[in-house]
Structure formats: structure tokens, C-alpha cells
């Protein structure tokens, strides 16, 4: 079995411990639900590892053309870093995984309509 670290772009190996939790999620709602299911310790560990690398991560990702054709290592890195859109709300805003007063396992679909 291939080590998961092999899948991330070179130089971002230290983010491998977060692939299992975030690497396969495709939508904002999946990330929101995952955020609610993790402990603050796990969310904080992700935050502490990824936040200092944000600049480097996007410098790397944006050295590729924007669109669906990212190479798989970069696509994986992008999925992992998009988790920060949710984790930051838990760590920087609420100090807890969930939104106060929200129902358990709260799900909210966010979509881009075909016609704007």
C-alpha cells in the first residue's frame, strides 16, 4: 500500500496526518459536517499545522492554472487546505466545533446555481 504522504506535493509532507480526515471531501457541506464531528484537539492540530503554511500552499497551488485539471497531488493539497474554511470558524470564532444553538449533525447545502 502506498504511503499517503506520496500523494501530497513535495514539501507539504507534514500535512499527511490530515489526509484521512479531509483529503476526500469535495463539498463545503461535507467539510462543515466533518468539522462538527471532530474534537477541538483535532481541529486545533490541523489549524496549527496548516495556518502557518497558507501562504506557501497557495503560492504553490496558484503556480498551476486555476481549473479542474490540477494534478492529483495538488488537487489533494487543495482539498486538505479548503478544510481551513471550516476549521478556522471553530478555532478562531467559536472555540468549539459547532455553531451555538445549531441542531446536531447540522447540514447546509451550498450550491452555485446554473443561472446567475
Amino acid at each position: 500500500m502506498t504511503e499517503p504522504t506520496a500523494l501530497l506535493p513535495k514539501g507539504f509532507d507534514e500535512l499527511a496526518p490530515f489526509i484521512a480526515e479531509w483529503g476526500s471531501l469535495e463539498t463545503q457541506d461535507e467539510r462543515y459536517i466533518r468539522r462538527q464531528s471532530l474534537s477541538m484537539e483535532r481541529l486545533q492540530a490541523y489549524y496549527d499545522a496548516v495556518q502557518p503554511r497558507l501562504g506557501a500552499i497557495f503560492d504553490h497551488l496558484d503556480s498551476f492554472p486555476y481549473g479542474p485539471a490540477l494534478p492529483e497531488p495538488e488537487a489533494l493539497l487543495f482539498r486538505v487546505v479548503l478544510a481551513m474554511s471550516e476549521v478556522a470558524q471553530a478555532v478562531e470564532v467559536y472555540g468549539q466545533p459547532t455553531v451555538p444553538h445549531a441542531p446536531a449533525n447540522h447540514s447546509v447545502t451550498i450550491r452555485v446555481p446554473n443561472r446567475a
Partner: protein, 414 residues
Amino acid sequence: MNKELSDWNKYWGHAWKPVPDVERIDAADYTSPEVFEREKDRIFRKAWLMVARQSEVAEPGDFIKIEAPTLDTEVVIVRGKDGVIRSFYNACPHRGVALVRQCEGRTGLFTCPYHAWSFSTDGKLKGLPGAEDFPHVDKSTTGLTPIHTGVWNDYIFINFAETPKQTLAEYMGEFGEYFDDMPFGEYTRAVEIIQDLPTNWKNFNDAFNEGYHVQVLHPKSLPMVPTRINPLNHMYDPIYLAPHSSATIQSNTDWVPTGKVMLFVYASTGVSFIHVDGPEEQAAKPRLFTTARGINRIGLPNYSTSTMNFFPLSQFQILADRYMWLRYWPLSPDKTRFIVRMYFGAPPRSHLEEFAEAFQLASTRDVFTEDVSMTRLQQQGMKSGGVKEVVLGENEHMIRFTTQMIRDYMNAED
């Protein structure tokens, strides 16, 4: 600190007196099936309803199919060859089939999937197979049933009345004139959240028309709004142009963001979701909406957002990086389809911009989640029978105003 800002207190809403004297509302108005049926007939079948944006049917032949779920009705909105936007009930005059099945498209002809009756984009019957068997059908007077349709600014409105009491221009009135230079069309990227929620539709109007709750309900998510001199977040400069209304909201320029990811997003994209800059910085980077005449006419130095209520079911919230179009379609006394459509300036052009948008969307969803949670708990309490009426403060004047508009519609002569 901003000592001179207290000069603006005179623009707080309760200093204004055209607010109707609505101190209490019967809890039954939020729970009763009879009231709900009357609201459907008296309000939703009579008022003009903001339902779509012109850009959704930009070219001749472009159509969209939308729902008016309050009235169990699908509506087809189509731009004709002549450029005119029309709306029709999605119902074939032959035997009633909801003939348009796509949510959007471009066509010159709508064809019913049952017997292939076909209709041009102006709704007229163009063809029917075996016409000789329908000698009693006059093609020139048969077609899709039209719904009154009008356009204000970039927005399409429909009216289900057979003969609306007012044209759309009359309905929009001075409010429409005041905001007719708002550049909605410049915002081309739409992102949408749709939720069916167990609460009465009026709870949404109420939730988004007072600032009183912000410090209590959103202490962590909206610290950039209430200020030391306005901790209860009175809304400024309410504009009441019946049945619509608008108000202005401040930002807390004492607030200093500390979240490193939030700072990263703001720094790398140059924009936050509300104006957190002081007046000099705001002046140095004017944004599209701040040039419109209806925005911040009082010159509030720490202007952040504006709200605009289009009676009965729509609200705009004008933010620094986007505007949000809220709709609350009643489904039953206890259920509402809550739609938040956000229009950003442009789609993301880089991975960084996509990340920044995702961050803003998560943050916005969380704030709405706090609001929505209260509307759900309100319904729970009202249904329990434990309160016979709810009480409104003078600072909840915008709720009072819309409640009076609702009463006027409910009690109007036919």
C-alpha cells in the same frame, strides 16, 4: 475613541415617529392555519413578488422554471423574441401537464411531453397534433396562462392577482425610485443556500429587521458590528416607503481582527465581508454600492451595511464584498423555505480566491445558523401556547412597520 459618532444617534430608528403603533402581535399570527390561508390569499396572491434576476433570462428564448411554493405553483419565466420578459403558469391548457421539465434553458418553443401541444415564447399555442379533432379550440385565444410580470432595476417581479391593484412601478413607488441606481447587475457570481425550516415565515422578516439581538446572539461571529456608543445596535436612518423599508448599519471600527486565517483572507483578497475600514480607508477604496444614492445618505462615517426589505418576502443585505438576497417563502404556518442567494463581484479566478470565498461562505452560513436557530426556537415557544402574544420594543420599529403592512394587506377591501 469615536466620540463624534454619538452625533449620529439622532438617526437611530426610535427617534423617528412614522413607526406604526404595533406594540404586540398575537402569537396565533405565527401558528394559526386560518391566518396562514388568509396570508396566502391576501398577501401572496396580491402583492408583487421578487422572484428572479433579469440576467437569468439574458437572451431571447432564455427561460427559467421557478417555484412559488407558497402557492404550490411552478412558474416559467421566459424572454421572448421581442425581448419582453413574460411569466406563465407551468400548465398545459390541454390537460394540465406541467409541461416545462428543465430548470433552465433556451428555446423557441415549449412542447408538452404528453400530446406535443407546443407554445411559443409569448405563450401562444403554435401547434397541436390532430388539430382536426379540436374544432372547438381557437388557436388564437389558447395558450399558456400568463402571470403579471414586471421588471424593476435588475429584478423580475410577478403578481398572481388576475388584475393587480397596482402596476409594479406603483408598487415600488418612491422606494423603487430611490434605489433604482443600485448596480446589482455588476455582481455576476451567485452562490445559494436553500433550507426548509420549521418556523413561520414572519420570524425571518423579524430576525433580519432589528439589531437588538446582535450583541447577544452573535457575540463571537459579529464583533465587528455593535459599538461602544451603540451596543444595542440601533439601526440608523430607517426609510419607510410603504410597503417597503430600508435601514443603515454601522461597523465597529474599534474591532481589530485577530484570527490569523481571517487576516490572511482579508489581506490576500483585499476585502472583508463588511466594511471594517475607517472613513479614510473607505473613501480610498470605494465599492460599487457605496456610490448609489440610496446607500448611507446620512454619511455615517463607520457605515457597514444596508438592509432593504421588498415586501413581503425579500430582503437585500448590502455587504462590502457582495450583496445577499434573502427570501422567505411560507410553506405552512410552521414551515418556511429560506433562500439566501449571495451575489459576488466575480467567480473565483484562483485557488486562493476559491478558498477565500469558501471561508466567507462558511462564516456567513454560521451567522445565519445562529439566526435561524432562534426562529426555530421561537416557533417552538409560540406553538406551546405559553405566550399569547409577543411584544416589540421601540427599537424593533422595522418589525412594527412590516407587521403593520401585513395587517393592512390582511384587512384590505377586495
